[in-house]
């Protein structure tokens, strides 16, 4: 079986593309088949991704040459521990979201079922492509593929989601064009597009202004895509008005894959020496600290549940970028290097995926958008609200949930880096998270009265539990928030979670493997 694992990186992309067109053709025959094909494809992709990760951790990196052409002339797909981990997280969340989407799409977009699943499969293709590739121009092309699919999926609901998607399109295209200029300048200086090749050729050019400009452009371009403050303004509208499983995908994995692209370009192309020359990671840490406070404060002011969760996402991206910004200064075995950042990518996917899907469940059952309309739902939809509570206490940071693990590792990393203002920022944001999440939990469980809007013309709404294909993903993610937290804390090596981060730190020579000149 060693032979087939070498081919798996390209097979993941190929299966996804072929499946997108199969869904299109099958949809003409029978609309119900689309969901099964999409679910089956993503499940097979997840199995392949786990096989790749297993191979990378036990044997070593996978290098696949597309078309047999040798790099640096050909495109190369490189799988190492960072790639493999992000790929598994991505496909797991995609699988859960597509399982949830069956009933939601029938309800919200009844005449667009085939198109939805085709574009969804193309979205997953683009996301997988960004993750596996080892060539920077190929990465730009896949970034544009998933961005276009995201624009189309957000706009599928019609109405105001069209404007939200258009704003996202304009801002996302600006970001992608900046990345394209940056790639062009790097190519002009080094003459190569392969990431490993550039990392060998680039060190002699670190003083060249074109290289510094290229890095600045790539950072700004990818920051627009990952909604880092102050370039986050497309995010609240896009998340609030998209279909709920697309909101979960957006918050849970699309902005995280842009973060992965930034980490990959910063550490594998412009290597550590460049990052130590230019104080870019300090600037990112400060911007991230502002993002954490800004997102939390604005989330408190929201009445619409999905908009509140969207601002909470801005805040959580601040956590990830703070962890990335501190990754060069920390050396401990547990929280050094990129460990808190990668850990929070998985944790945020679990928590935010669950929260957005529960918000979608409320909309699916009774069109309940505002927090004040959710009175008494704790009794009528017990499992859904239980999952929301699990995810919400995880966001607040109650031990032993995943949110607590992220916060405690991040606080230790901040203490080791020596910057106590960031520690105050993290603790303050925990308090603010408590304010706006507790408001929802209190409304669901403890307020008297009936659910639904409160004016004279309101009819009483009839609500019961959501269907099973929507309930299983929600409960799975909610329970995983706690279970995964216990796994992170006790460092059980079954899942291989902490060894993955350790391998990534060893690959980039940060964390406890720091080699100072």
């Amino acid at each position: 079986m060693a032979g087939i694992v070498e081919q798996l990186p390209v097979l993941i992309i190929a299966i996804s593309l072929v499946s997108a067109f199969t869904i299109l053709v099958a949809g003409w025959v029978n609309k119900k088949a689309c969901w099964f094909i999409s679910l089956g494809t993503i499940f097979i992709q997840l199995i392949m991704a786990i096989a790749i990760l297993n191979h990378v951790l036990t044997v070593g990196n996978i290098y696949y040459w597309l078309g047999g052409w040798m790099p640096p002339w050909g495109i190369e797909y490189v799988m190492d521990a960072l790639n493999g981990y992000i790929l598994v997280v991505l496909l797991f969340l995609s699988l859960v979201c597509v399982m949830y989407s069956r009933r939601n799409v029938e309800h919200e977009l009844p005449d667009k079922i085939v198109s939805f699943y085709v574009v969804y499969q193309l979205l997953v293709t683009g996301l997988c492509g960004v993750t596996v590739t080892g060539d920077i121009f190929n990465m730009y092309v896949f970034v544009e593929i998933f961005s276009l699919a995201a624009y189309a999926l957000i706009a599928s609901r019609g109405g105001i989601s069209l404007k939200a998607s258009f704003v996202y399109l304009v801002m996302g295209s600006i970001g992608a064009c900046f990345v394209l200029i940056g790639i062009g300048l790097v190519y002009a200086v080094t003459g190569s597009l392969n990431m490993h090749d550039i990392s060998i050729l680039l060190p002699q050019f670190y003083g060249n202004r074109a290289v510094q400009l290229a890095y600045a452009l790539i950072v700004v371009g990818l920051s627009i895509k990952m909604a880092l403050f102050p370039l986050h303004t497309w995010l609240p509208d896009a998340h609030s008005f998209a279909p709920s499983e697309i909101s979960a995908m957006l918050s849970g994995i699309i902005i995280e894959v842009s973060t992965y692209a930034l980490i990959r370009i910063s550490f594998s192309v412009f290597t550590l020496d460049f990052l130590r020359l230019v104080p870019i990671f300090d600037i990112i840490s400060w911007l991230a600290a502002f993002a954490i406070i800004y997102g939390s404060v604005l989330a408190i002011a929201q009445i619409n549940l999905k908009r509140m969760l969207a601002y909470s996402s801005v805040s959580q991206m601040g956590y990830i970028m703070l962890a990335v910004g501190l990754s060069l200064s920390t050396k401990h075995v547990l929280w050094g290097g990129l460990t808190p950042a990668l850990m929070h990518i998985l944790n945020h996917a679990l928590m935010k995926g669950c929260l957005f899907m529960v918000a979608g469940a409320f909309i699916y059952k009774a069109e309940l958008w505002n927090i004040t309309d959710l009175r008494g739902l704790g009794r009528k939809m017990p499992y859904t609200c239980a999952a929301f509570t699990l995810a919400a206490i995880s966001m607040i940071g109650v031990p032993p949930s995943v949110g607590f693990v992220t916060k405690i590792y991040l606080i230790f990393a901040v203490v080791e880096a020596g910057n106590f203002i960031f520690m105050a920022v993290i603790l303050l944001s925990t308090l603010l998270n408590l304010v706006y999440f507790w408001r929802v939990i209190e409304t669901m469980y403890m307020k008297v009265g009936e659910a639904g809007p409160h004016h004279e013309y309101a009819k009483p709404v009839k609500i019961d539990e959501i269907p099973l294909t929507m309930l299983i993903p929600v409960l799975l993610l909610g329970v995983l928030c706690i279970v995964m937290g216990i796994i992170w804390l006790t460092e059980i090596p079954i899942i291989g979670a902490v060894p993955i981060m350790d391998t990534v730190n060893k690959l980039f020579e940060i964390g406890r493997y720091t080699v100072l000149p």
Partner: protein, 126 residues
């Protein structure tokens, strides 16, 4: 001084067009004008890439086609790789413009206008 400006005129034009396209995307209210700005922005980036293909002192390169004449006489030819990258990027730009125009058509059906200020005013009243 003059050579610094005149010898690199294609880069200067590319930068000025990038800034014009960027300004149009930000400042114009009409959605179609924003898309036109996006197209100008992306086309200017292609111009930048193609200018990069011919770095070098004079004589300027000719078309990169393998033939007896070029190989025997030792002509200088341009780098074909940026041209290939631009073909890919043109496809991406066309797809982006198509999605953007599709969105504008749907917005026109929904709101009856393509001025952003009027759409915001309609939404605020709803």
């Amino acid at each position: 001084m003059i050579e610094w400006f005149l010898a690199k005129y294609n880069y200067w034009i590319a930068i000025i067009l990038i800034l014009i396209g960027f300004y149009a995307m930000i400042a114009k209210d009409n959605l179609i004008k924003k898309i036109i700005g996006l197209t100008i922005f992306q086309t200017a980036i292609f111009l930048l890439y193609i200018s990069l293909a011919d770095i070098g002192p004079l004589p300027r390169g000719t078309a990169p086609i393998v033939s007896e004449e070029i190989l025997s006489k030792g002509y200088v030819y341009v780098n074909p790789l940026p041209h290939v990258l631009i073909l890919t990027a043109i496809v991406v730009a066309v797809a982006t413009t198509a999605v953007a125009l599709g969105l504008v058509i749907r917005m026109y059906e929904e709101y009856g206008t393509i001025e952003e200020a009027e759409i915001i005013a309609i939404e605020r009243k709803l």
